[in-house]
């Protein structure tokens, strides 16, 4: 099944090609990895990423500033209203409280136990409903600014605040009810925004504390906006400064940073007020005020830039361009030339007569030639793999953008791709008696597939959408190199495994077909 003499003869005939191709491929690969490793092509990518991170932070700060401003204003206005309400409505409030206490008492005697929190809230809502029905119109006449619906929510919380601390009376009780309302609103908003229970509680507590602090330093005024802006700016400044100091930043730097945050907050609030004055709703004004760079550029451009920031240049150049295209080209030329020369070339020239006129079976010839082709490819890729591993080691080993496991899988993938092509070219060489047919079909289709992969690259996911032409992806369906899935290898998914299996399958089937067809055919020797 194997002829050592023939193997030697074939190796002698092809060794120059083998050395040239292996050397050239290794040099290309080493240059690609080492140069890229020292150039830092990901710098631009990183700075782009920074821009977006900063934009996100800025947007977050502005959002907080506007929220705090709103809280200040609401607290101030509520404070004013409650001042009035606690004077005018103290009789009504006292009635409401005593009604509530009675209801709670009744519940206790009926059920034998004190009502739990949920039941208390139920009772409070009921009492407030009755209260509004009875006195709503009256209150409205006294205080036309007060929204009755808002008031009912507030009053429920006032009742619950009373329940917690019976010593509270008058305005303090009303304000306590308001703080509870602030807490509730902040909590439900945070949950709506998709935050965790823990974060929501924290945020709500923060808002409640803020409103307490604000209400303590309030003076009754016609317009609170100036105070609100000052308060928010100072608050942001102090908060950032403190947290920077806590992180161990130098005082000078912390101060600079805190000022820049103050500027951001001030800008946001000015924009907010400007839009409010223009008659926009609070919601719209807030959207305008909290815009960052990424919101200001068109969505598609922003998307493209984000993707550019996320693109893995090393993966693209080493994986998709070197191992799937540039690095395959020379081994491909080697395989096309050598596979043709192993059988079809020798039948066409007639030199096969000097093999088959010796006691050598045709099966022995094909198996030996196949063994040579596989040996040549295997040894070629063993050397290429060694060079790639050493190159990666030089540029930082596993700290490099492509680690050892990935580079080994790239080499394996390239080898299996070449195994499939070798099988195909070998089959053509075995089937045809003429070099021109063997080369044009075996070599032609192989090169065609490589070209398809080059064209398909512009339609594949590894190219950022700004440069991608979706229609070009069609070419990827015409090439078996598509089964060498570098994207899957880099992403760490396992879909590259079954694709490898297909490449092995193509190689095995074509090699076997080649061996059998050569056994049976007529040879013009």
């Amino acid at each position: 099944m194997f002829s050592k003499a023939l193997f030697k003869q074939t190796a002698k005939a092809n060794w120059i090609k083998w050395v040239a191709v292996t050397l050239a491929t290794c040099i290309m690969l080493a240059i690609v990895i080492i140069v890229l490793g020292n150039l830092g092509i990901n710098d631009i990518r990183d700075s782009l990423k920074d821009v977006f991170t900063q934009a996100d932070q800025e947007s977050y700060l502005k959002d907080n500033a506007v929220d705090l401003y709103d809280l200040y204003i609401t607290t101030a206005e509520t404070n004013e209203q409650m001042e009035t309400f606690s004077g005018v409505g103290s009789v009504f409030i006292n009635n409401l409280i005593s009604d509530y206490d009675t209801s709670v008492q009744n519940y206790q005697t009926e059920n034998g136990t004190a009502p739990d929190d949920a039941t208390k809230k139920q009772i409070a809502i009921q009492e407030v409903d009755e209260f509004i029905q009875q006195y709503g119109e009256l209150i409205n006449n006294f205080m036309p600014d007060l929204d009755v619906n808002q008031l009912s929510g507030l009053l429920v919380n006032v009742l619950l605040a009373h329940d917690k601390d019976a010593s509270l009376t008058g305005k303090s009780l009303l304000m306590e009810g308001y703080y509870l309302t602030v807490y509730e609103n902040a909590y439900s908003l945070a949950l709506l925004e998709g935050k965790t229970e823990q974060d929501a509680v924290q945020e709500a507590t923060e808002a409640k504390n803020q409103s307490k602090i604000i209400s303590m330093q309030l003076e009754i005024k016609d317009d609170y906006s100036d105070e609100a802006v000052k308060y928010v700016n100072d608050y942001m400044y102090n908060m950032v400064y403190q947290s920077q100091i806590n992180q161990g930043t130098l005082k000078e730097d912390a101060k600079n940073y805190a000022v820049s945050v103050k500027v951001i907050s001030n800008t946001a609030l000015n924009t907010y007020l400007l839009w409010l004055n223009e008659g926009k709703t609070a919601e719209k004004a807030k959207t305008e005020a909290t815009k960052s760079i990424s919101d200001q550029i068109p969505e598609k451009v922003a998307e493209a830039l984000t993707e550019l920031g996320d693109m893995d240049m090393y993966g693209l150049i080493i994986g998709s361009i070197f191992y799937r295209i540039a690095g395959l080209l020379l081994p491909m030329v080697f395989v096309i030339m050598v596979a043709n020369g192993l059988l079809a070339g020798q039948v066409d020239s007639g030199s096969m007569a000097y093999v088959l006129s010796t006691p050598t079976k045709r099966r022995t010839v094909t198996v030996t030639q196949m063994a040579y082709l596989l040996w040549a490819l295997l040894s070629m890729f063993a050397i290429v793999t060694a060079v790639s591993v050493v190159s990666v080691w030089i540029v930082g080993g596993n700290n490099f953008a492509i680690n050892f496991a990935e580079i080994l899988l790239f080499n394996l993938g390239a080898f299996l791709t070449m195994f499939a092509f070798a099988g195909f070219c070998f089959m053509c060489s075995a089937i045809f008696n003429r070099t021109k047919y063997s080369l044009s079909i075996g070599g032609g289709l192989t090169i065609f597939m490589l070209v398809c992969t080059i064209l398909g690259l512009f339609g594949s996911d590894v190219v950022p959408s700004a440069m991608r032409i979706e229609a070009m992806n069609f070419f990827n369906y015409l090439s078996i190199i598509t089964f060498f899935d570098t994207t899957s290898i880099l992403a760490g998914t396992l879909s590259y495994l079954w694709k490898f299996a297909i490449l092995i399958g193509i190689g095995v089937v074509t090699f076997i077909t080649g061996v059998f067809s050569f056994d049976k055919k007529d040879l013009p020797l």
């Binding site: 003869q9 005939a13 020798q346 030199s351 007569a353 088959l356 045709r362 040879l523």
Partner: protein
């Protein structure tokens, strides 16, 4: 005597009248069998079947009792071959090729190769690709003869050799013949077949037209004589006598007649009555014989 190569009713139809049809012959042990025919007549196709390169559709090809296709590898242990069109493997020089070929043959002893190289005055260190046709042919001869196997199959082995080398080559063939080898050899040259072969087959358009025994041809009882008369009167008179005339050249007053050995005395008696310029025997060789056969065959078959 044992029949080494047997070809029976071998047909390979390539369509449009090309191919070989109903080829039958056999080569006995120690016999040298020749193949002659025009270009494309089917000599090489027949040889390729014997070598097991082509699969026979109908008929039978046996070498040493083994099927030429199925036992092709086994047969090669006894067969040496010079292909009709010589191309060497992609190796650097003649020495490398011969060494490699010997290794594939399992041949250790290179004495005969050295003898052949010396006899053919071959420079084996020459680059295989740059060899002239004659050098390639010499290298092929060395490669074929060096293993000293029992059967030689030579497809136009003397093409490209200069006349002196051809002499040497024919000497080599005769040496092999003397050593008891069975030889099948195709050629376009009648003289070399006549010199070396025991029997020669004529192939035309894929069919064997005739197989001739060289010994019988040489020692034939039929002779040909060319006679020229001094004047046309005698010439015309002679024509009326009952001799089988094969050729007439009126302008020279020449006739060529075919006559059996036993009638020669009568001929000379008759010729005494005429005034002759000369009389000479025309040697009947293979070429003449086959030309005659072919003319007859063509007339019969109308091709």
């Amino acid at each position: 005597m044992e029949e080494v190569i047997v070809v029976k009713d071998l047909t390979k139809d390539y369509g449009e009248g090309r191919g070989i049809f109903d080829i039958s012959f056999s080569v006995k042990k120690g016999e040298t069998f020749g193949f002659v025919g025009t270009n494309g007549s089917g000599k090489t196709t027949t040889i390729r079947h014997i070598m097991g390169f082509l699969k026979h559709k109908s008929g039978d090809v046996k070498v040493l009792g083994m099927d030429a296709w199925k036992d092709s590898c086994q047969i090669k242990k006894f067969v040496e071959y010079i292909p009709g069109e010589i191309a060497f493997p992609d190796l650097s020089d003649g020495t490398t090729f011969l060494k490699n070929y010997a290794e594939m043959l399992g041949l250790k002893n290179m004495d005969k190769a050295d003898y052949l190289i010396k006899k053919l005055q071959l420079d084996t260190s020459a680059n295989l690709k740059r060899m002239s046709k004659g050098m390639k042919q010499k290298t092929a001869i060395v490669a074929a003869f060096m293993a000293n196997k029992d059967i030689l199959i030579l497809d136009e082995p003397s093409t490209g050799l200069d006349p002196l080398m051809r002499e040497t080559f024919l000497e080599l063939v005769l040496e092999e013949k003397k050593a008891g080898k069975t030889i099948l050899m195709s050629s376009q040259m009648f003289d070399e077949l006549e010199l070396t072969c025991d029997r020669v087959a004529l192939i035309f358009n894929g069919r064997i037209v005739d197989i001739v025994d060289i010994d019988k041809l040489k020692n034939s009882e039929v002779k040909f004589y060319k006679i020229e008369f001094k004047n046309s009167l005698d010439f015309n008179k002679f024509k009326k006598l009952k001799y089988e005339i094969t050729r007439i050249q009126e302008q020279y007053n020449q006739v060529t007649i075919k006559i059996l050995d036993k009638d020669v005395g009568k001929l000379f008696k008759d010729l005494c009555k005429f005034d002759l310029k000369f009389i000479s025997e025309v040697k009947h060789n293979l070429e003449k014989y086959f030309k005659e056969v072919l003319t007859k065959y063509r007339e019969e078959k109308n091709v």
